[in-house]
């Protein structure tokens, strides 16, 4: 613990962004049995930055939606380095509605520097796609567990983050703006990102303190496999608690969980 506290906010940002850090696909591979990937938004296309599908976690049927940046360079380019396009958010919503129809809970894995900033993404309504997810997720009648596993980059991350329980891995970060963006606005110098990371209060412990997230999965002295196993246990415990709730209780609690932030 002592050691952990000495890690700076910016070191955590770098850890969260590391190319070696497991992203959504890793957790699907190791946590979800019989996973069947389901593609496309049935509107325009299939976004590689968001992987979705169905399977079992600990024997329980779930819908899983995960941000994924890919492995080698061509795969990463295809996935826009994990920055979702409107089609990705619309695919996610389509799969959430399918989960709702079959009364199956939803698990989301978040890790992205943000929604893709591109001409075509704007033409196809990046803002509208995120807005629609926030609006609809507030009313989805099955439990939603969101896990920030890497960088939680602003609205593009929140679009999968309206969960009944929001979990963060210890070294994941979650912020309204990147430290570089903040530093260039605040000090006209993106090189001061490390200072900006401190003032933004974007670490898992900061967010737990603010009541923005419910749980942290500790990472120190744990292998990726051990972290995954601990996360799986936590997700299953949350799912069994949320699945026991009535629809009304679930939705009221979800509403008030966000309602109380900054009230």
């Amino acid at each position: 613990m002592e050691n952990n506290k000495n890690i700076t906010a910016y070191e955590r940002v770098q850890a969260a962004r590391s190319g070696k850090r497991p992203m959504g696909g890793y957790y699907i591979d190791r946590m979800v049995d019989d996973f069947v990937e389901l593609h496309g938004d049935r509107r325009y296309g299939d976004d590689g930055a968001i992987v979705g599908g169905v399977g079992f976690i600990g024997g329980k049927p779930v819908t899983v939606i995960a941000m994924e940046r890919g492995d080698e360079i061509t795969d990463r380019m295809r996935r826009h380095f994990g920055c979702p396009s409107p089609e990705g958010y619309r695919k996610a919503l389509r799969l959430m509605k399918e989960a709702e129809k079959f009364n199956r809970p939803i698990v989301c894995f978040i890790g992205s520097s943000g929604a893709y900033p591109g001409i075509e993404a704007e033409e196809r309504g990046q803002g509208e796609a995120i807005a629609e997810n926030l609006f609809e997720m507030m009313g989805i009648k099955v439990p939603i567990i969101s896990v920030v596993v890497g960088e939680g980059g602003s609205g593009g991350a929140l679009a999968l983050g309206v969960g009944d329980t929001v979990i963060m891995l210890e070294n994941a970060v979650y912020s309204v703006i990147s430290p570089e963006g903040c530093a260039s606005i605040l000090w006209k110098d993106s090189a001061k990102a490390a200072d900006a990371a401190e003032v933004l209060k974007l670490t898992s412990r900061d967010l737990l303190g603010f009541g923005v997230i419910e749980k942290i999965i500790e990472e120190e002295n744990r292998s990726a496999a051990e972290i995954c196993s601990e996360l799986k246990k936590t997700i299953l415990a949350e799912l069994s608690e949320k699945c026991a709730m009535s629809e009304k209780e679930l939705l009221d609690k979800r509403y008030h969980k966000f309602r109380k932030i900054g009230a």
């Binding site: 929604a115 900033p117 591109g118 001409i119 507030m138 929140l158 003032v199 932030i261």
Partner: protein, 273 residues
């Protein structure tokens, strides 16, 4: 000065004098126009260019005379995450805008139709949404849900407010929840997007209206133009992220001129009443 008084300016002598001789410089043609004249023209320059409109002038330009009563005006922001220089920024914004925060909420009638209204103001920290803006918006939607009232919302914002960190980001979810509940109650929400509406506001309540109106040429989008250019290396097309572009791509219902906004809102509210 009667006109100014009617429009919410110069509630006392001192303030009236303070506004004497104030000129608004058109961002397009550079012409200087007296504040009183500009107000009478609804902040449209003689050259036709739309100027950004203060919240109180906006309210007076669309609501029935004397029908507006403000709500939640007592809420003011604090430096919740101890962000550097935020208090000073808030003080400056209050002085520049004459407002306590970047959104003004209340109830009013428009063409005789009772409704709840919110109006954002870009002169208060670029209309950015922190916890107080989020709270005021949530409250006005909750009030409208409880009383089965339509909501008319004028949006203008640079997005979520950096100075309140993650708490600002969470306001997007919080307000979206209130809009959702208002909608589930069968109530109408008309969003009016004015220049500029970007970032986290576009990615939440600005795009959640049953009907979305935009002012001509208003900048409307999610990502910032410089960020898009830097990321993609592409040159942005002419008219990119303008109201006309959004209409062409199917994301807004209509573009309406400022001078006809009250009339159009009245018609839409009557049809839904």
């Amino acid at each position: 000065m009667d006109l100014l008084k009617h429009l919410g300016f110069g509630k006392d002598k001192e303030k009236e004098q303070a506004h004497d001789g104030i000129k608004i410089v058109c961002k397009k043609c550079g012409a200087e126009t007296e504040l009183s004249v500009m107000t009478a023209q609804s902040y449209v320059c003689s050259c036709g260019e739309y100027q950004r409109m203060p919240a109180r002038a906006r309210i007076n330009s669309v609501v029935d005379k004397d029908s507006f009563s403000e709500m939640y005006g007592e809420l003011t922001s604090e430096n919740v995450i101890e962000f550097p220089d935020y208090e000073e920024k808030l003080e400056k914004a209050k002085k520049a805008s004459g407002l306590s925060e970047a959104v003004v909420c209340g109830k009013c009638t428009i063409g005789g139709n009772e409704c709840a209204i919110f109006v954002m103001d870009s002169s208060f920290m670029m209309g950015s949404m922190g916890t107080v803006v989020g709270e005021k918006l949530t409250r006005i939607f909750e009030y409208a849900t409880k009383n089965n009232l339509p909501v008319v919302g004028f949006c203008t914002s640079g997005g979520a407010r950096m100075q309140e960190g993650i708490l600002s980001l969470m306001q997007m979810a919080k307000v979206s929840g209130a809009v959702k509940r208002h909608s589930e109650g069968g109530n109408l929400y008309i969003a009016v997007l004015t220049d500029p509406t970007t970032g986290g506001v576009t990615a939440s309540f600005a795009m959640q209206g049953d009907i979305i109106i935009a002012e001509p040429r208003a900048l409307i989008g999610f990502a910032g133009q410089r960020v898009i250019e830097q990321t993609t290396g592409e040159k942005l097309p002419e008219g990119f992220q303008r109201a006309e572009f959004m209409l062409q791509h199917g994301f807004i219902d209509l573009i309406e001129e400022r001078g006809r906004m009250q009339y159009t809102l009245s018609k839409l509210l009557s049809i839904h009443s």
